[in-house]
């Protein structure tokens, strides 16, 4: 098992490097904008352009830049480890802002994850158990809404109703936990719920479907034939089998979100990786963009790995020898 994990971790590293390479290729081949020009002001002189190119490292061929980037990432640069270089836009090390923002995104993602699990799974289970009753139909109606409503619309609606009109929720923005835990919570609740709604709906439907299907399996009949209580049959036999795919999905969803929930962060003005990468891409700030790409790729790859391991633990049929 340990060897397997090490092997997979090496793959993760390779995948991240490949993705960064792709990002480099895209950045250099696609835009007609010279990144140095974008930061050179209204009337750039050749000296200014030369200086910027040099300071941004753009005067080297792109494979050299790429090589240096990977090297700095692994070994670290003058700003710390891992080395993400310095941002063209803020002229500050990417690393510090990147990690600050990663923290915000982590809070947003994990909080939303908890919310959607707490919402989605019980609703799914309830729906499956009370199939075709009013409860079921109402729950699936809610699920349809959650899946269909665009996140930005949801966010704006929430702001409008709860902040603007009713005044019971805090508005946009982020307050660090250390500064004031209650205000922090106040600002996080709406983004959590908005972000979670889509997933909760999706998970409710999935859990419902999985559970209904599982409850039709033969081993459920056996469990009942053994004389077990219906509750035990549902929880220990039904859920155990139907939640396994949910675990997989959960890991992947969280992994993706950890790369930045762009729309939610933008609507709620959260200083996370999502808003960071949007700004960086628009401004042509390559190091900052790459920083987010690295973190995002890492998050997804690592979560993939974790999910595989957890799945093997949960379902003995897929265990590796």
């Amino acid at each position: 098992m340990t060897r397997y994990i090490i092997r997979r971790l090496l793959w993760v590293g390779l995948v991240v490097v490949l993705i960064v390479f792709l990002a480099y290729v895209i950045f250099f081949l696609m835009p007609p904008v010279d990144p140095a020009r974008a930061f050179a002001g209204k009337r750039p002189t050749p000296e200014v352009l030369e200086t910027l190119r040099e300071q941004f490292g753009l005067d080297r061929p792109f494979y050299v830049q790429f090589g240096l980037f990977v090297k700095r990432l692994v070994i670290g640069d003058e700003y710390g480890w891992p080395g993400f270089g310095f941002s063209y836009a803020t002229r500050s090390p990417v690393r510090e802002e990147l990690f600050q923002r990663a923290l915000v995104t982590i809070q947003l993602s994990l909080g939303a994850a908890v919310v959607w699990l707490l919402m989605g799974i019980p609703i799914g289970i309830l729906s499956a158990i009370k199939r075709r009753t009013f409860v079921d139909r109402f729950a699936m109606g809610f699920a349809l809404f959650g899946v269909s409503a665009p996140v930005f619309w949801l966010g704006l609606m929430f702001l409008y109703i709860f902040w603007q009109k009713l005044g019971i929720a805090a508005g946009t923005g982020y307050v660090p936990f250390g500064e004031n835990p209650l205000t922090w919570l106040n600002h996080m609740i709406m983004p959590w719920v908005v972000l979670a709604l889509l997933f909760a709906a999706f998970y409710a439907r999935m859990v419902r479907g999985n559970l209904i299907e599982t409850m039709g399996e033969d081993y459920i009949r056996t469990a009942r034939a053994k004389g077990l209580s219906e509750r035990r049959v549902i929880v220990r036999h039904g859920l155990r089998a139907s939640l396994t795919p949910v675990v997989t999905m959960f890991g992947l969803d969280v992994g993706t979100l950890l790369g930045g929930a762009i729309i939610t962060e933008t609507v709620f003005n959260m200083p996370g990786l999502g808003t960071y990468v949007v700004r960086s891409v628009f401004q042509g700030d390559l190091p900052a963009t790459l920083g987010v790409v690295v973190l995002g790729a890492l998050a997804v790859s690592v979560m993939n790995l974790i999910v595989d391991i957890v799945y093997a633990y949960l379902d003995p049929r897929v265990r590796y020898a």
Binding site: T222, A225, K226, G227, S229, R240, P316
Partner: protein
């Protein structure tokens, strides 16, 4: 809608363990009412072995699922009586029924691969069955489970108990299921097509195992199958079902050496028998099993019966005992039945 049935004569043995009287199970579906079981009666005495034979759709499985209380009453209308040790299981509250299920009546299902939970160790699934009805610790339960696995002929049961179902072979899985069904020393073991999913060689082993265990545990056994050949060696009595009703009932000898129903004749003709010389081809019963929503009027078998008469098309034949407890539901006269058997069935089958 149901009609008076002969009760099925009380068999030899020590008094009826299970008495099913006029059981009918109807399912409401968007296409119509499915009469899965339509007026079935029989008795199982302690220590007996009853074989229940029929094609798919004959109602044989549904009958016993209903006995076990595994049919969802929200979607089915169940009428009749199921007396287990004198108490009607159909009217019993589910809490009580749960204590009988698994404890006093055990059931083994057709496909052991899908009937065992893939994510729990075999041992712990057996332990779970035990601890549902007895107050024992997990450790004790595991010891018992290992012992049971040994009894059903699984080698190295202490290792095997810690393995998962997918690590077992098909035959071993079925043995494990039997072990689980017998874990609480039930008085009745219902085996629903226990060998159908297994290799032929393994089939015989499993059936022998059931025989042996029956002796050891002193249980009654109901063997449900579509294969008349299977019940030949292992059952004392046989109930042949067709389209939700009993077609014929009798001892093993009654059925094999003197069947009284055209359907049974068809079944006999379609199996190959070692104790007879091989003649020409096997002769399947022509036609197909009927829809349970639109059951043919009169005798349900009449569209496929080579000996059909006019009365068969309108009047439902009653299950009437001829000699002893040998009963059949057919309008043919007894002499006719005997004659046809001797002349046509006994020779060709």
């Amino acid at each position: 809608m149901s009609y008076v049935q002969a009760e099925g004569p009380v068999p030899e043995g020590r008094g009826p363990l299970l008495q099913v009287k006029n059981l009918s199970v109807h399912f409401d579906t968007p296409d119509g009412v499915v009469k899965a079981v339509d007026g079935v009666s029989f008795t199982v005495g302690r220590g007996d072995t009853l074989g229940v034979v029929g094609e798919s759709g004959s109602g044989k499985s549904v009958t016993f699922l209903t006995v076990m209380g595994l049919i969802d009453r929200r979607y089915a209308r169940v009428e009749g009586e199921v007396l287990f040790r004198g108490r009607d299981l159909l009217t019993m509250p589910d809490e009580e029924l749960r204590h009988i299920r698994g404890d006093q009546i055990g059931m083994v299902f057709q496909d052991p691969m899908t009937s065992l939970h893939p994510m729990y160790k075999v041992g712990s699934q057996i332990v779970e069955a035990i601890r549902a009805h007895r107050d024992v610790s997990k450790k004790e339960g595991l010891e018992q489970a290992i012992e049971l696995l040994g009894k059903v002929g699984i080698p190295r049961p202490d290792e095997r108990a810690r393995q998962y179902p997918h690590e077992y072979s098909g035959g071993m899985r079925q043995r494990a299921m039997i072990a689980m069904a017998l874990a609480l020393d039930p008085d009745l073991l219902i085996a629903d097509e226990p060998t159908t999913a297994l290799d032929v060689t393994v089939q015989a082993q499993i059936l022998d195992l059931i025989d042996r265990l029956q002796q050891e545990f002193n249980a009654a056994v109901v063997l449900i199958t579509h294969d008349l050949g299977v019940v030949a060696e292992h059952c004392d009595e046989i109930n042949v079902m067709y389209a939700g009703k009993a077609a014929e009932y009798g001892t093993r000898d009654d059925v094999y050496y003197g069947a009284h129903h055209p359907y049974t004749w068809g079944l006999l003709q379609s199996i190959s028998r070692i104790d007879r010389p091989r003649t020409e081809r096997l002769r399947p019963i022509r036609g197909a099993p009927p829809s349970l929503i639109h059951v043919p009027p009169g005798c349900a078998f009449h569209p496929r019966c080579p000996y059909v008469m006019e009365v068969c098309k309108v009047e439902v034949p009653k299950l009437i005992a001829a000699k002893g407890k040998h009963a059949s539901a057919c309008h043919l006269l007894l002499e006719e039945k005997e004659r046809i058997f001797k002349e046509e069935v006994a020779i060709t089958s």
